[in-house]
Symmetry: C2
Subunit: 181 residues, 2 copies
């Protein structure tokens, strides 16, 4: 069961650099793209950035619809995540190709992915061409996370997100280290 | 022993979302700030982003010097990393406070940190005010990594970077997962 969390708190879902699936929809066409290059960038308002290659199909959908959803997969979904990172949404329906289940957006046109343990719905507030990628700045307007996997941060004792080391190499978190500051 | 790596390859050092230490220097004053909000954003040229609170001292140094260095600490350095994230460089010398060793920059004015296993020297190519943070876009112009901890990606069997889960909770990678795409 996914529960709504505060938009500000949702920034924490992206803090440790998880590999994510960005979903989008424009004129009836929806897509999924695998993205490692994302980061929180502001608390007030809660903003995040995602970086999309100018060659990718998703930047056209997101540039037009002005919204996107960031979905966080666990390491068990890595095979499906890689399918979404290799095929192009211009040619194939990535929901069909990957077998992921499409869920209608709550506050945005972009759908979310049922199998992911958390999602963040974002409105595009700005975008910049930076080198060979578009940097989209999104404001989180709605976020949900599986209740059992969230304890004010991602509960990595119960669920493992994916970190992309580069190329074909990935990792996932081991244990929680608590340090009072 | 640190070896130089290609600027393009250096993007991979930031791929899995490590907590980093950003060093800067302007008019003889240097500083260290702990930053979780960073990401690669372009291959050609190799660009990265760092997000710094408008309240932080470092954005003034970096805004003037137009360069910064991203240093990657291992999990053994977490205590020192937290010192750099709590004190303000306006009031204290963070190199003294943390005990980190200052190394002169190779291609930039910003120093690097000897104890970190990798560093990326960046020239500021753009900056944007996004909410309550400045987003600095840096081009990697020089990067070095400890030879024994690098095998075309960070060798997490030998060195553990830090991921910040939020608040006082941190984690580090467990094992490498290899997946042909």
């Amino acid at each position: 069961m996914k529960i709504k969390i505060e938009n500000l708190k949702a920034l924490r879902l992206l803090n440790p650099g998880p590999l994510v699936l960005v979903t989008s929809k424009y004129q009836g066409k929806s897509n999924i793209v695998t993205v490692a290059w994302t980061s929180p960038i502001s608390h007030e308002p809660p903003l995040i950035s995602i970086s999309l290659s100018t060659k990718k199909y998703s930047h056209i959908l997101i540039g037009n619809s002005k919204d996107f959803t960031v979905n966080i997969p666990s390491v068990e979904l890595l095979e499906k995540v890689l399918i979404c990172g290799s095929a192009s949404g211009r040619e194939v329906d990535k929901f069909k190709e990957s077998g992921f289940t499409k869920v209608p957006g709550k506050k945005v046109s972009s759908p979310s992915i049922k199998e992911c343990f958390a999602f963040l719905e974002c409105k595009v507030v700005d975008s910049f061409l930076c080198g060979d990628h578009y940097l989209f700045i999104g404001e989180i307007i709605h976020a949900e996370v599986e209740k059992k996997y969230y304890d004010d941060h991602i509960d990595i004792e119960k669920i493992k997100f994916i970190n992309h080391l580069g190329g074909q190499y990935f990792t996932y978190p081991s244990e929680i280290v608590e340090k009072k500051r």
